[in-house]
Subunit: 343 residues, 2 copies
DNA sequence: AATTAGCACTCTCGTGGTGAGAGTGCTAAA
DNA sequence: TTTAGCACTCTCACCACGAGAGTGCTAATT
């Protein structure tokens, strides 16, 4: 693979920037005029032809301007973009919003989705942090009425599960409290399997509860992503490239279908916290995403709990802003998760 | 307002049925041929012209078939549809799915959304049940690490809120337990305002917790809908009427923008549990929904907790199925909520 | 050797015309 | 009141045409 000359790099970069600005194929003249290049349109045309041979640009038809290929976007993102940072005043605004929400766990994810969507001008996805290892932390049995009992199970990492259970006969709240206390002492910090081993030693009622608990924990272990939060879908669907249904299809599926998103995340996103990956035009593996790019990140605390977050937009997206805001929000969320779980 | 003749009713009904089956304007000939009418096409044409004068049908252009107007759909739903029920085998399948999920609160809403979307072949929305009155039930303080404490607040009705709080100095889990016990005894069944009145009497740490609790409860009181669950958006967007963006816009907004959905629900949905409302073509009040119909229902237990659920589709939707499945799922959810909160 | 001016060529897009087909509205007869 | 018959209207697909935009190539220039 031959290296691009500096001028080819420049031109490739300008084509991407110009095309992102407005969704029309960009012509040699537009480039020379708008960016004050010190060469003629003919030279630019020659270079463009070369870039097309090399697979970085393409033509919708013979006599139209050029648009970047996925390979072209890739080169742009990896070699030309450099380290981008969000403007400081935006950083401050965002950090402030998170600061205000810092205590209310339930606001974090919606806020993150909203900030991502807004700043990157795309659709945003955030999955709730999920413990990499499911361990028992605390259990509470609350009598509601008659024989019905609400079981609230808190897992290490802050995940809370609720489940109803109905007793053969009514039990007093005090009896329930004692049972919870005993189970909490026995089970603190254990995994589902470890709890399973102890069940036999317990009195009848408590072992019934323990069964339920292991069941809940096993179910939690099977999940690979937590609750999913979304924002900005309607805005991004107004982009001209999504006026055709087939292109919008993949975007909507990745935003709506949990299984599809999970598949993409599993395939494309490294499990390492703080990493940011860019998936352009489906990368050949996801045909439905031909018209979309995803900027994905992972946040949280390795070994405790991690979640994913990302921006979805047309391939013609503002990669610089998207990458920087994903990274920034990811760091903020990681800090919050750290404070909550570890600090 | 003049009454429609029986034959006009028949024809209106057939136009709706035929148009729902395939999205082309329906001609007089199609009606006579497909439904074996004992009159000629000319007669049908005359009746159609009359129905158009009365505002039940319309023309896309002079020489095309007829399509129903919103008024036409209304008449169809209210007068011609009768009491529809889901086929028994579908009822059984659905009831079985809910039976299997009956103990896991967290599965109810996604399951309901999935069943609605699937059965009605539309997009589905379900809001989590929300207590009509926010009352304290139970609180648990769990020390996580150092000075950080996880506060888990259970409200009457089963809603659970989590919040972090950080102490000026580390406290032992036992101290936290005692504090929770005391607060639980004091506050059981109270509203935010009532708790606010007691705060002054408490020792420093407990009053700090109580402040947080009232704050959480006040915030819960301000919400009018719970968490929103969605399903089936991508399927319904494949319908031909949504290939134009402007029509898809309203659909996507009502599915995605919480505030928009809340406005529609507040305006259109009666607070009475078990009621089902049909909102056709935005009813003049919601221009974005011109191409959509909503079948909305409310479930839950009046005075305890209620939520909304609904199906969204093109005006050209299967009203019979949509209404019956909304009613059926609504009843199932109401039963579950009843068992959980009251039983 | 690289650049550039010039120009022919290609392709899109909007416009207008045309003919087939579908479906109506109307009139007059049953 | 219904219906047969027919003229009329409107859409849609198709084609042709010209303007405009942009390229690719060649030959001249630096």
């Amino acid at each position: 693979m031959e290296e691009l000359t500096p001028r080819q790099q420049t031109i490739l970069g300008l084509v991407v920037r110009e095309y992102v600005k407005s969704p029309n194929p960009v012509s040699s003249r537009a480039l020379v005029e708008n960016y004050g290049l010190q060469v003629s349109t003919a030279t630019v045309r020659n270079e463009m032809a070369r870039l097309e041979e090399l697979g970085y640009l393409t033509h919708p038809h013979t006599s139209a301007g050029r648009i970047p290929t996925p390979k072209g976007y890739h080169h742009f993102v990896e070699r030309l973009l450099g380290e981008v940072e969000l403007p400081v005043h935006e950083q401050r605004t965002i950090a402030h919003q998170f600061y205000q929400a810092r205590q209310d766990f339930s606001q974090w994810m919606p806020l993150a989705a909203s900030v991502l969507a807004h700043t990157a001008q795309g659709a945003a996805l955030v999955t709730a942090p999920l413990a990499t290892e499911v361990r028992y932390k605390h259990l509470q049995l609350i009598s509601t009425q008659g024989r019905a009992v609400l079981l609230v199970l808190v897992l290490r990492g802050g995940m809370v599960k609720q489940q109803m259970l109905s007793l053969p006969e009514p039990l007093d709240q005090q009896v329930l409290d004692e049972a919870s206390d005993r189970l909490n002492q026995h089970f603190n910090g254990l995994t589902a399997d470890e709890i399973g081993g102890h069940v036999a030693d317990l009195p009848a009622f408590e072992s019934q509860v323990a069964d339920l608990v292991t069941d809940l924990m096993r179910r939690a272990e099977r999940h690979t992503t937590g609750e999913i939060y979304r924002d900005g879908l309607s805005r991004v669907l107004q982009q001209p490239e999504f006026s055709e249904q087939e292109h919008a299809q993949g975007l909507i599926r990745v935003m709506e279908e949990r299984s599809f998103l999970e598949a993409v995340l599993a395939d494309a996103l490294s499990p390492e916290v703080g990493s940011v990956q860019v998936l352009i035009g489906g990368e050949g593996r996801w045909d439905e995403l031909r018209a979309c790019s995803l900027v994905l990140g992972r946040y949280g605390v390795s070994g405790f709990a991690t979640g994913a977050l990302g921006v979805v937009g047309p391939t013609r997206m503002l990669y610089g802003r998207a990458i920087s805001v994903v990274r920034f929000v990811s760091d903020l969320l990681s800090d919050l998760v750290y404070d909550m779980y570890v600090g």
